[in-house]
């Protein structure tokens, strides 16, 4: 078991400190891990206005515990995670134990450094994450006319997003994947990555803000934690490979051990759309983002997304965005 201590005030320092604790060499803003611990990397991305993000794409080989100490300066931290958990994720917040028992964790967590927090990732877990450090000062500077800061902390108090992350939606999913999939040889890569992270931030903040405005006193939705984990697993399965036809609902239901009708209604409640609608929305978002890179023509995109008939693809695209793929 490896224990890493984190002091969250600056991700560059965090990265430097992790490299020292693990006796690893830091290359610029990237920390490449070694196979005795894990395959993968941690990377710091500097965002506009002094914001920072810590990215990681890691396949853990041994158990690693991250311990975060509380600090005086107020920070919120937004964590976007997509992880295949080999065993439950174990949290300890101010001495209180909590577990995320889902096999797949694909969602957003909000935490703050007002608490001591530690969490243990078990060996054989595969995890991608984007963590954004939000100083209270930044939130204040970006306020509109409402008190967003209060909304955030109220949201934080009402929802235990450590154990129940806010699930990804179609937009999050595409942005999240683009952060990790943008081609390194693309000279605009760093700009694209920054822009996607800023959009994730905007999208999440606006979404929870609206949610809190609409239903300020709504209790957490009545979906069992274990079912939530299964839904996240379904979500990841759906968007994994658009070159293949989507899995049937019957198959998905079997996989989760839920009945077809329960799965359908639970999925809709959490993700806001039907299962296939969600699949199709993501597929079109993916098409749009591929076209926007300028690296693929309409035919290549259609084919990669499983369309054998190009005009079916064009029509589906038009249905979603009101323009033809050739007009992107």
């Amino acid at each position: 078991m490896i224990v890493v201590h984190l002091k969250h005030t600056n991700y560059k320092e965090v990265l430097k400190s992790i490299s020292e604790q693990l006796h690893l060499q830091l290359t610029g803003d990237i920390l490449q891990l070694t196979p005795d611990i894990a395959d993968g990397y941690f990377k710091v991305v500097e965002l506009p206005n002094g914001l920072q993000a810590l990215l990681s794409d890691v396949h853990y080989h041994v158990d690693v515990t991250f311990k975060r100490e509380k600090s005086d300066e107020y920070f919120s931290i937004l964590h976007f995670n997509d992880a295949e958990l080999s065993e439950p994720l174990h949290f300890l917040r101010n001495g209180k134990q909590m577990f995320d028992k889902s096999a797949r964790r694909a969602g957003v967590t909000l935490s703050s450094n007002a608490n001591d927090l530690s969490f243990t990732v078990k060996g054989n877990t595969k995890a991608k994450s984007i963590n954004i450090l939000l100083p209270g000062r930044w939130i204040n500077d970006n306020l509109n006319r409402y008190n967003e800061l209060q909304v955030l902390s109220r949201y934080n108090a009402m929802r235990n997003t450590l154990v129940h992350p806010e699930p990804f939606d179609a937009q999050n999913r595409v942005l999240f994947d683009e952060v990790f999939q943008t081609d390194e040889t693309n000279p605009l890569q760093s700009m694209i990555v920054k822009n996607r992270i800023m959009l994730l931030l905007e999208h999440f903040l606006s979404k929870i803000y609206r949610k809190m405005q609409e239903e300020p006193t709504q209790p957490p939705r009545k979906i069992k934690a274990s079912d939530m984990g299964k839904l996240m697993e379904i979500e990841s399965l759906l968007v994994r490979d658009f070159g293949q036809p989507p899995p049937t609902i019957a198959l998905l239901a079997e996989r989760t051990g839920m009945s077809v009708s329960k799965l359908k209604s639970a999925f809709k409640r959490v993700y806001g759309t039907g299962i296939y609608e969600y699949y199709q929305k993501n597929r079109m978002q993916k098409a749009r983002s591929m076209l926007l890179t300028g690296q693929y023509n309409v035919k290549e995109v259609g084919t990669q997304l499983g369309y054998s008939n190009l005009s079916n693809f064009s029509l589906a695209f038009k249905k979603e965005f009101n323009i033809l793929p050739s007009q992107v």
């Binding site: 002094g50 605009l188 926007l292 008939n309 064009s314 038009k318």
Partner: protein, 329 residues
């Protein structure tokens, strides 16, 4: 005629001068024009990464001349302009002049402060624009696009020629619209506007990069020749209702031999000249059909077919579907 000249490398300075000149008060760097000059506003915001952005959204009520004198300090201005012109407008960049009559001009382009630049607009013109001031070092350092070092000078040397003016398409329009019509309920308005400005820049540079460098890297074609075929491409596809220009005519316009033109065109666009022409023509047809406003026959005529069944055959060859299937979209 209202004329205003500036040399600043800061939009904040510029809007302050303009406010003084118009004798209006600024509020959070918003300037509302006096009615006799224009109806609408001009605003400036500084992005958190230090870039200056100006946004204009107005209808000009009197002829005006906006001009910027070349400056020794070098910086770029990335402009996204949408002008609906009542009479005419003249855009001058250095010694080149673009004149437009009664129409809509919607273009994205990059200029350098090393050139003189002016907009001479006439009464009745509607002007929407998002302009971003980019210091010279910025592109390379903050965006990590060293690759542009070679491309930009060549790009800028072209000034107002057709290649540099990238027409705005639906994706650009959408972003500009979102910037202009900021949703009053957006909880994080700064973040919202900034992200859209960043996306405009990302798209512009992505497009420029894929148009110039991809072709450049794959072959050993000189940048000048690439620019030439890009210009030829514009001429080729500008009007489908007339007969396509002959290769001889195009090579005359390109001042290249027809063998050389054919070869370079193919390596830049991936297709021989007429095949490319035909493909674009069918895409145009698909676009027109899917608006639902035109019949198959009307579309055929618009893109230069006198015989509808020839059109249907050609369309099926490229789009693998009957033209009528597109109308139902």
């Amino acid at each position: 005629m209202f004329s205003f000249e500036y040399t600043h490398s800061s939009y904040i300075d510029m809007i302050n001068d303009l406010a003084e000149r118009l004798q209006v008060k600024l509020k959070d760097n918003w300037l509302f024009f006096p009615e006799e000059i224009a109806s609408g506003y001009y605003r400036v915001l500084q992005l958190s990464n230090g870039l200056d952005v100006s946004i204009i959204n107005c209808r000009i009520n009197r002829d005006w001349l906006f001009s910027s004198k070349s400056d020794t300090e070098e910086y770029y201005t990335l402009r996204f302009d949408e002008l609906t012109i009542e009479k005419e407008i003249r855009i001058g960049i250095d010694t080149d002049v673009v004149e437009r009559g009664k129409e809509t001009v919607a273009v994205a382009y990059l200029t350098s402060s090393l050139f003189d630049w002016y907009y001479h607009g006439t009464k009745g013109t509607t002007f929407k624009g998002v302009n971003i001031l980019i210091p010279k070092e910025w592109l390379g350092k903050l965006m990590g696009v060293e690759a542009f070092d070679e491309i930009l000078p060549a790009y800028l040397a072209l000034k107002s020629r057709s290649f540099t003016m990238e027409p705005l398409d639906t994706v650009y329009y959408q972003l500009i619209k979102e910037i202009m019509e900021e949703d009053p309920d957006t909880p994080f308005p700064r973040l919202y506007v900034e992200n859209r400005v960043q996306l405009l820049m990302e798209r512009f540079f992505t497009r420029i990069h894929s148009r110039v460098s991809l072709a450049d890297v794959q072959s050993n074609i000189k940048p000048d020749d690439i620019y030439t075929v890009l210009r030829i491409e514009k001429i080729l596809v500008e009007n489908f209702s007339a007969k396509p220009k002959s290769i001889e005519e195009l090579s005359r316009k390109a001042t290249m031999s027809s063998t050389k033109l054919k070869k370079i065109f193919k390596s830049v666009f991936g297709l021989p000249i007429y095949e490319y022409y035909q493909q674009k023509r069918m895409l145009k047809a698909g676009e027109l059909l899917s608006t639902g406003k035109y019949s198959v026959k009307q579309v055929a005529v618009t893109i230069g077919y006198t015989n509808v069944s020839n059109f249907v055959t050609a369309f099926k060859k490229y789009m693998k579907e009957e033209p009528s299937a597109f109308i139902e979209a």
